[in-house]
């Protein structure tokens, strides 16, 4: 008996030692981009995933927010030198930096969100099938529209945002073939992500032309879009995180892009020793994109709308409908 307790005690202490040694070895780090981690949008989505990871595992994550171009590379290298074992980059602007630093530290693990074109043996890249999620909210918009005219306000005019627009148009047209979709981009520079006044102006002009549902994919600019739709008594569709609560009753739904899943998964896989490199593309099937339903928009989502969205979702899952990805052809067939 005594012998047995001794053995269990030894085993237990060995386990504790092993786990502390492991905890000391595993050091995650994240580098937010210039928007900062509380941007109510993309970076904050990542932060939510990081927070969930820390809450669940008790492992704290080293964080840094860059303030100028040179700091991206410096921050990554600094994190690696300080013993970070897995480093997460946020956004396509960090692509060059992570390509360089991941090559310098082949024994470390790297991961980046919204990038799919790099090639590095220790780098995991996350891309999202935003076109699939946008297709779903397009279906919802067409069903909810009474004028058969809907709008789209994009942030910076880059292929990624056109991908949102194209999927959305596809969804709208799948319900109402002759519907009109007004599209506007806010600008061509990163400042287009944070210009709510211009977002509101663009949404207003689309509403003046008859649109009664406006979808935005414009980061901070979208706050203005939602506000303008709410002021005019029309409907907006949110993006990235669940924005239904920003103007309850005026936000039809939100296209969820689960960057938090990517952040959480990166750290969790690295911690459990399941880290793999390569490109991970998260669509509806992988839980990477979806539409949002909660108490804020429950009155707006009628049974008819809901069944249409669910049908479209099932069709995409079964492969019956394949939503066109703008980035593959640089054009939109809808």
């Amino acid at each position: 008996m005594k012998y047995l307790t001794k053995i269990t005690a030894m085993a237990a202490s060995a386990m504790i030692m092993a786990s502390t040694a492991f905890a000391a070895d595993f050091k995650p780090a994240v580098i937010y981009d210039m928007g900062g981690k509380f941007d109510k949008s993309f970076n904050e989505g990542v932060w939510n995933g990081v927070k969930k990871f820390t809450d669940e595992t008790g492992v704290s994550v080293m964080e840094f927010e860059v303030t100028n171009e040179t700091q991206r590379e410096q921050a990554m290298r600094r994190m690696a030198e300080r013993g970070a074992t897995v480093i997460l980059g946020v956004g396509f602007a960090q692509a060059d930096a992570i390509a360089k630093v991941s090559a310098e530290f082949p024994e470390k693990q790297f991961s980046i969100i919204d990038v799919s074109w790099l090639d590095s043996p220790n780098l995991r890249q996350y891309a999202f099938k935003e076109h699939e999620g946008s297709y779903l909210v397009g279906v919802a918009a067409a069903k909810a529209s009474k004028t058969n005219k809907v709008g789209f306000v994009g942030g910076m005019d880059i292929p990624l945002i056109r991908k949102f627009a194209c999927g959305y148009v596809g969804g709208v047209k799948s319900v109402t073939g002759n519907a009109e979709v007004y599209q506007n981009m806010t600008g061509t520079t990163p400042s287009a992500w944070n210009d709510p006044a211009k977002g509101a102006e663009l949404a207003k002009s689309q509403i003046d032309r008859g649109a009664d549902v406006v979808y935005h994919a414009a980061g901070g600019t979208g706050i203005g879009v939602i506000q303008a739709a709410a002021d005019a008594g029309k409907l907006a569709i949110g993006v990235d995180s669940n924005q239904n609560g920003l103007a309850p009753g005026a936000v039809l739904t939100s296209m969820l892009k689960r960057v938090d899943v990517a952040a959480y998964e990166t750290f969790k896989d690295a911690m459990d020793g399941n880290f793999s490199s390569g490109v991970k593309i998260l669509g509806i099937a992988e839980g990477g994109v979806d539409w949002a339903e909660d108490s804020n928009n429950a009155p707006l989502i009628t049974a008819d709308i809901k069944s249409a969205i669910e049908a479209a979702r099932a069709d995409i899952l079964s492969g019956k409908v394949s939503v066109h990805n703008y980035e593959t052809t640089s054009s939109c067939p809808y």
Binding site: G36, T67, Q74
Partner: protein, 370 residues
């Protein structure tokens, strides 16, 4: 500015140090309020800027930017022109380097491309200074207003080109393709590597020695040449300059051209030294910080060198603070930098009367004793 009572060493060295200490005290109180130890923070900041792996290199790399933009503000200031367009002039400098490199790097040897790029940086930066200078000299449009407006124009031009015809296809950031292999200013750790010395990696590059040479050049220009004398004379009294037979309008344009060219040279460090391509926003506000650097350095190259080093250390040490303490965010770091600018720029002469009194009492005592 001419202080008859205080000897120069107090004006140039002691007062800035007192201002700096005052700023650090206030910053320290705020750091203590958020629950961190201000002395540990200071040590982390200093170590981050000078001791840690690569820290000194980063500090000197930021210093290089501030030397160029600080000198730019100082030269204009000697002609009593307040050039706050350093940001736009630096952007145009970067565009100059970029256009030259992108146009000729497949055909000419890299060394030649770099030399032509440097000339283009100075030329385009100078052009962006000389236009507001001309508007001031010939049309009476105030230089502060026009240089600010030229910052916006420069930024729009950059956006138009980098998000349009110069944008590198196949990716999403507004930036050009990378320059050909070898087109750039070698980084110091690479050069040290050639000599067999291993130093830690940092973006510090040949622009730093160039900045030092340019500083000597500016000192020579302002205090040892005829043109420098006329610039200073025009700045002190335009009427006297006219009486002496100089055309102030011409001097204003020349001073602004030199000032713009100096700001344009900042692009050497960022574009040729580090990025190897033109990117949007590479100036990151260094042009504006140059104003504080020049104010703190009393518009003298030596002062500007020290002020640049201080700001470089603040930038690099500040980033280190952000790394080290989760509670100190980048906004905190910005605030500390703001306090230092406030105390050494806006409130630069706050401690003057007190220092004067103490100095007078001490010297009188000294005389009485003697």
């Amino acid at each position: 500015m001419n202080n008859a009572i205080l000897p120069r060493w107090i004006d140039i060295f002691l007062l800035p140090i007192i201002n700096l200490l005052a700023a650090l005290c206030v910053a320290g109180i705020i750091i203590a309020l958020i629950g961190e130890n201000p002395f540990t923070a200071l040590v982390v900041m200093l170590k981050g800027a000078f001791v840690y792996h690569g820290g000194l290199g980063y500090t000197l790399y930021y210093t290089t930017n501030f030397i160029f933009t600080g000198l730019a503000v100082a030269v204009a200031f000697h002609a009593m022109l307040f050039n706050i367009g350093g940001e736009g002039q630096a952007m145009m400098g970067g565009l100059g380097v970029g256009l030259v490199a992108l146009a000729i790097d497949p055909f000419l040897p890299p060394v030649l491309v770099v030399l032509l790029g440097i000339c283009a940086a100075a030329a385009l930066g100078g052009l962006w200074g000389v236009i507001p200078g001309w508007l001031q000299a010939r049309r009476g449009s105030h230089i502060v207003i026009t240089t600010i407006m030229f910052n916006f124009i420069a930024s729009s031009v950059m956006v138009w080109l980098l998000a349009g015809m110069l944008m590198n296809p196949g990716q999403m950031s507004p930036e050009t393709r990378s320059f050909a292999e070898g087109v750039g200013l070698a980084q110091i750790h690479v050069i040290a590597g050639w000599l067999g010395i291993e130093i830690s990696r940092s973006p510090l590059n040949l622009s730093f020695p160039i900045a030092l040479i340019v500083s000597v050049g500016v000192w020579w220009l302002i205090w040892r040449t005829r043109l420098g004398y006329i610039i200073r004379a025009t700045g002190h009294s335009e009427k006297a300059a006219i009486y002496a037979g100089h055309d102030p309008a011409r001097i204003i344009m020349i001073a602004m051209a030199i000032s713009g060219a100096l700001a344009g040279l900042m692009a050497l460090n960022e574009i040729l030294g580090v990025q190897g391509r033109v990117i949007l926003n590479f100036t990151s506000g260094y042009g504006f910080t140059g104003i504080a650097v020049a104010l703190m350095g009393r518009n003298h190259p030596v002062g500007i060198l020290f002020a640049s080093l201080l700001f470089g250390a603040l930038y690099q040490g500040g980033a280190e603070l952000d790394f080290e303490f989760q509670s100190i965010t980048r906004e905190m770091v910005l605030m500390i930098q703001g306090l230092i600018i406030l105390f050494s720029g806006a409130l630069a002469y706050m401690f003057n009367p007190a220092v004067e009194r103490i100095y007078l009492r001490l010297t009188k005592q000294g005389q009485a004793d003697g």
